[in-house]
Structures are given as C-alpha cells and as structure tokens.
Amino acid sequence: MKTFNEVASVIQVGTQRATLPSVDFLPETGGEKPEKRALFLAGTLELMRRAGVVGIDSVKPLPTAPQENRRVAEASEAPLSEALDKKMTPVVLEWAEKAKHLRAVLPPALLTAMLPLVKKHREELLPVIGERGLWLAQLQGLELSPSDDDKFAVKRTEDPAAYREWLTAEYEAMDWKERLKAVKQLQIQLSIHDEPILEVALKDRRKEIREAALELLTSQASFKVAHELAMLAAPILNWKKSFLSTSLIIEAPERSELPKWLPKSPEIDGMGPKAMALIDVVSYVPPSTWGTNGAREKFFEHMSKSDYHRAMLEGLIVAAVRFKDQPWLDALYELLVSRSDIYKFKGRALAAHASPEMFERIALKGLRGVEYQSDLIVQMIIASKRPLSFELSCALIDTLKTSSRSHVILPFFARNMHVDAISRTKVPIEEHHVFEDTRLEVRNILSLRKRLLSSLDSLA
C-alpha cells in the first residue's frame, strides 16, 4: 500500500518531477520510459491492493437503539412520507397532534427526514419521535433537549416558593434572555407572594422584561400595579343620563399623569398624545372594568359618538386579547367585521381569538353572501389559521371554486379544512382547466390528510 501510494504521488506530480520508488518484485526491463513503468506499476500494485484488502478493525459500531416503549404508527409511513416529501409541515403537525394523544410514535424509516423538522417544531414533534428518534438525534449531534422555558416551567410547577427564592437570589446574575424566560414562568401559580420580584422586574433595564412583569402584575386585581391602573381607568368613562337619553363621555388622561412603568404603545396615524395615553391605560385594564353589564352593543354605539372612540377601541382590542375575555373578544370581532366600512380589515387581529361559534357564524354568513363581504371573510379565515368545520369547509369550496384566485386560495385552505369536505371536491367543475386543477389539488391535500389521520385509527 505504501509503495502504491508512492507511485500514485509520482503520477500525480509527473515523472518529469519525481522519481519512481524501486519495486523488487517488478524488476525494470531496461530502457523502459519512466511514465510507462509508472503506469504498469500503478496497474499491478492497484490490483494487488484491491485483492489484498482485509478490512480494518479499528471502527466501532454505533450503539444500538433503545427499546421503543410506545406503539409505532406503522400504517402512517406511506402518507407521512408523502407529506414530508411535499413539505406539507402543517399536515405533519396535524398528524403529530393526534399521534401524541394516542401515545404513538413515528415509523423509524421516516426519522431522518423528520429530525430537521423536529428542530423547528420541537414542542409538537418531540413527543412523537420516540426513543429511537431521541437516540438518533443524539447520534447526529442534534440538540433536542428541553429548552430553558421548559426547565423553568418544571421548576416553577414543582415548588413555586423555591422558584421565587431562586429567581430572587439569581436575578442579577442572569443574562437578560434568561431573566425574561424566568420571569415569564412566574405566571404558573402566580400569587401575591410574587409581587416583590415582579416589581423588581418592572424596573429592569430591558423593555421586554418590564413588559413581561407588567403583564403579570396587571393580571390579578390584588397586585398594587393593577389597583393603580384601575384607579387611573376609573375617570375615563363618564355616563351622562338625561331625561330622554344617555350619553358616554370619554376622558382621556394626560401622558404626564401616567406612571413611568406603563409602556407607550406604538404611534398610530391620526392619534394625538391624549388618545395614545388612553390606549396605554385601556390596553392594560381588564375589559370587565368598564361595567357594561353585558350590553356591549349599546356600549359600542355610545362609544362611537366619542372623539376618542378609535383609541378606546384600539385599547379594548389589546385588552380583550391580553385578558382572554371571551365575551369581549366575540363582541369586538362582530363589531369589527360588521363595520368593515369603518374598520377595514382590523378584525384580522381577533379572527384567531373569537369563539368557534362566533367565528363560524360570521364566516358562514359572509360566504353565503347574507351579510358581510366574502372577501373580508376570506381574509379573516386566512388570518385565523384555525381548523375549519365541515360546513365552513364546504362553503369555502363552493364560494371559491370558480374565483379567479381559487388556485391560490383553495389549496392554502385545504390544510385547515375538515377532511370530510373532500366529498365536495368530487363534483367536476365543467369550466376552465385551472379550476379543475385546483379541485384536484384540494382533493389531493384533503385525501392525504384523511389518509394520514385514519392511519392512526387502528391505534385508537
């Protein structure tokens, strides 16, 4: 082998520059050109090298995989492979959600294709890669261990008091990203005992940490900060009742009256400093503060007459999402969609938060042309990214199948449609071939999703 490599080196640099090694078992014939001899030597030695290979003994096999203690979703292999090939990540995640509930794991043949996706969608996919997946990831040097968020969450759940003490002791020593993650986990079993450390966080150098602390300090009325904000909010709404009518006067605060820890909202065109200050306060106060006794439509009507109605609305939208106040979310969503002439596409911000019933009711009315513009509704459905019911899926196909944009929109929706809506795609559309192709594409996506989900049925 050594001689062969020497001859190979000579051939590489040329016999004009290097001399061939002497090889005893292949004597020189005399008068032979060095390049000719180099070629013969290479041929002979290569043959000897090839025939003389014995293999090497210094390579250790990789460790073997641990036993899989969960059921392998064998039947999912073909459709899942198809979804991975077509890079249909939402479809894969939908399968993973169902597989996770059934304690099923991915077929090992798909692990190499799936692992890069696990890095991006750790929370959804880690539970379905099983012992074999974790083993393979470790062999490949992929970092799939729990994130800091998870570690902190576990610590907080196990012993909130100990976590609080630990955070108080370590707070200054942590870098800001760690501080942010640690403060956010105080939301687990949040109590009045957490107030001191949250107030420390409220004065942090980093805006992100101050905002995280404020979120928590405004979430419970017993905190001083929440109380202070409630006091600031109290004079904002003034109902004036006369013999014949009731009117609402909105008093916006001056920015100078607001505490320094209350962050400023991003500037909005057409809003003055007082309107912006109003948004800042309203967005951190629970919507229930405004005491409408459930008559929100009436409240909106009165509100609309105020100069500050847009600012009030902006604040209410943020607050409804922040405090997850479902009746307010639904009422605001309905208002924004029904008055799209004023609010344009503002309802998009709430499309994902409206209750399924409200979302469905408005969407169906819009698609059937009863109320609302169907374009607006399509925008809302896109923004919501939520799974669509069978009825809504069918209505979407029926409404959009001959739209000029159907080839773009329908396949996009097919990832969220109810899989049984495939029945709606059976009827051929005897029109332009683009619609026919769209129908087939939607059908293929729905069919793949249906096959993927039903491939888990035997494990249910």
């Binding site: 002979t44 293999g55 090992p108 393979l136």
Partner: protein
C-alpha cells in the same frame, strides 16, 4: 413473474410523486372496472375527464399501456393497478377486448422478433473473422494513440496535464476507434482528477488498470479464452446473447441486490442473483435508453427458476436468463467480510477488469470514523461505504445487526440491500 410486493411496486415508479399518486389510485373507488389474469392486470381508472383511462400491465414482462396523457412510465394508473395487484385485491377474469388486442400485438411482435433473428442468415465464419480483424486493427490504432496520451499525462503530472475536456476528446477518439469501453474509462478518469481527498491514488489505480487493459488488448491472441473474452468486453465489444454457447445453468435464482445507474444517457440495472442449490453468483444486466422500461428487471426480494447462460469470462458472472418462472424468495445467509474479500480477490485474480463483486454480510452494523462510514461484521472487520451516509438504515434498524448485500469495487462498498430478517 412472481406477485410483486408494494415495496417492489414503489421501486418501479419513475419518481416519488408517481409512487405517491399511484398509491392513492390503489383505492377501489378510483376504478370503474378492474380485473386480472395470469398474464395481465387491467382496469379503467376514473380521471377528471368524461371517459376513464384504460390501463393495462403485462405481468409477465412488466410492460405498461395507459390511455392517459402522462409521459411517465409506468404512469400513476399503472402503478395504482400494480399496488392493487400486489395486495391481491383484483379478481381473476377474462381480459376485455382492448387488453387482449394489446397482449396479442405484443406476442405477435415478440414472435416476429424471434423469427427475424432466426431467419437472419448467420454471417459466414470467414466474413465474421474479416470484420473482427478490421475492427481490431482500428482498435489497435486507437490504443496506440491512447497510450501516448496516458504517457504524456503521467510524464507532466496530473495537476498540470490535460483538462477534463482533453480526456473527453481522447474518449471521443476511442469511440471513433470502436473501443467504447476504453472511452468510458477515460471519461471516468478525467472526471475523477482533483475530485475528493483521495483522488490521487484513485486516479492512479484507474490509469494503471487501463494500461493493463491496453497491453492485454495488444496481446489478445496470446491470452487464454476466458481472459480474451474479458479483454474484449472491457474494450467494448460485448458478446451477443445469440453467440453464447456454454451449457445453461438451471436453478432457482434469488435476487439479493440491485443497483440502477445512468451513464452517458444509458441506464443500467445490475441485479445480483444467487443460485439456490450451489450459491453461485450471477450478474444480470438490463439496459434502457431515454427512460424506456427495462426489458426484464429482477426485483430485490424475488426469486425465479431460470436457465442462466454465463457470458464467457475468466471468472464468469454475467448471465443471460431464459425460461423464467417465478418462485418464492429464499436466500441463504451471508458471511463475514473476510469471506467476501476472499471471493473478490479470487475474481480479480482471474479477471482484473471486473468492476464490482457482490459481498453478502451477515450480522452487519454501521459505524463511523471521523466523517467516513463503515459496515462492520460480527468479527469486527469493517469496509468503507460508498456514496450517501446510511443514516436511514441506522434509523430503520436501530443499528441492530442485519443482513447486508453490497457491491465491492476494491475501495468502497455500495450497500444494495439490507434486512432485519435473518436469511436462512
């Protein structure tokens, strides 16, 4: 043809999307009518158009017919039909007229071909000898030119010598000299210069092997018959199956490995077969141009009884198969790497131009050293693996010891097939 498995149907698909579309068409709802006989499977696939697509598959020779506009071969409808056939979901019946007509036409064409071959008067030995002499003198002239080219290259050194284009030009001259085998080797060398870390020894080995071939071709008359045949084949004068005269070996052949490669627009399917009674190896080659299907493609995991006629060689491996009858697959256990290497050494001792030798390894696992991958046997011996890393196999079998069949070229093993079922 034995009944295909779904995995084998996937292997027939021209690409992944055709396989997936075919799998989708394996649902009964997609077919207006369907049936099969011993010779063919057929069906009417519901498409987007008014009329269903008429699809038929010749199960004996794996030929396809479909009225759909797809250019893929087999198309998704043929694959869907084969998936259903693989799952034994099709009822036996009498072929409809359009299928029978197609089968009859195929049989007719096949008969015509055989008749034509039989009726073509064999060239007189004197004429054939004259033609061979003429061709050989052309080849010898080409060889002389090629030798000068190689010597120049080695004299100047490969770093500064001719570019890849000049190797291609020399290869083209060898095609003109009617030595396509030498041309292919020249192109490979030109493409290997400067590629990869170990290109120096790799290229030197190929250059040396080509030099031995050129020298052997010049002295062909002095060589024993078997080696003479190997030189002819390596130079690029293949034997025609009609000229094979050896006694056929009748046995059941298990298909243990298969590789498909495309070079110069010709796709070659190499299938490694093992005789059940003697464990003798055989190599079946099938060729196709421009995406056409192979005339016969033995599939891994199938077996058949057949007469195998070995092509002449100092170590015969390539075979021509006739009278093929399907049989259940039943391969024997592989061995240690040392056994495989001994077999390889034996082959190369007799035919230095054999490019690959099959090596079956029992209880093989995978290991990594730096960035290189290896197959390791139960005795702890390891061989490097060619091409892509085997992560998918490691994931699939959890690196438990498995049966592996690979092609060994003297430097790396091309893993063709692996299974966690111990072969008995």
């Amino acid at each position: 043809m034995p009944r295909l498995t779904p995995e084998q149907v996937i292997a027939l698909a021209p690409d992944a999307s055709a396989a997936s579309a075919g799998r989708e068409l394996a649902s009964p709802a997609k077919w207006a009518s369907i049936g099969e006989s011993d010779l063919a499977a057929w069906g009417e696939a519901k498409g987007s158009g008014k009329n269903p697509y008429q699809t038929a598959v010749d199960l004996k020779d794996l030929a396809y017919k479909c009225s759909c506009p797809s250019r893929k071969l087999p198309c998704k409808h043929a694959l869907g039909l084969l998936f259903r056939h693989a799952k034994s979901e099709i009822e036996h019946g009498t072929p409809p007229t359009w299928v029978q007509e197609w089968l009859d036409k195929r049989a007719e064409r096949s008969e015509q071909k055989a008749e034509k071959a039989a009726s073509t008067p064999a060239a007189s030995p004197a004429d054939a000898e004259k033609r061979t002499e003429k061709r050989w003198s052309k080849i010898l002239a080409g060889i002389e030119e090629c030798e000068s080219f190689l010597e120049d290259a080695v004299s100047q050194g490969l770093y500064v010598s001719q570019s890849a284009r000049s190797w291609d030009q020399m290869a083209a001259r060898m095609v003109d000299a009617q030595a396509p085998g030498i041309a292919t080797r020249l192109k490979r060398i030109g493409n290997a210069i400067g590629v990869g870390e170990a290109w120096g020894p790799n290229v030197a080995g190929q250059l040396g092997n080509l030099t031995l071939l050129l020298e052997a071709a010049k002295r062909i008359e002095t060589l024993p018959e078997g080696l003479k045949a190997d030189v002819r084949t390596a130079v690029g004068i293949p034997f025609r199956k009609e000229d094979l005269t050896g006694e056929p070996v009748e046995d059941v052949w298990d298909v243990l490995g298969s590789a498909i490669e495309t070079e110069d627009r010709i796709t070659t399917c190499r299938s490694w077969l093992q005789a059940r009674s003697t464990a003798k190896w055989a190599l079946h080659l099938a060729f196709s141009a421009a995406g056409q299907p192979f005339e016969f493609q033995p599939l891994i995991g199938t077996a058949f009884h057949a007469k195998a006629q070995y092509y002449p060689s100092a170590y015969p491996l390539r075979v021509h198969l006739t009278e093929i009858e399907p049989q259940p697959f039943q391969p024997r256990k592989g061995g240690l790497i040392a056994d495989g290497l001994e077999f390889a050494a034996d082959v190369w001792a007799q035919n230095p131009w054999a490019e690959r030798v099959p090596i079956p390894i029992t209880a093989g696992s995978f290991g990594q050293k730096e960035s290189d991958w290896f197959v390791i046997d139960s005795a702890g011996r390891a061989l490097p693996i060619k091409g892509e890393d085997p992560w998918h196999l490691v994931a699939l079998f959890g690196n438990q010891p498995i049966e592996i069949v690979g092609e060994w070229n003297g430097s790396s093993l091309n893993v063709l097939c692996s299974s966690d079922d111990p072969w008995t």
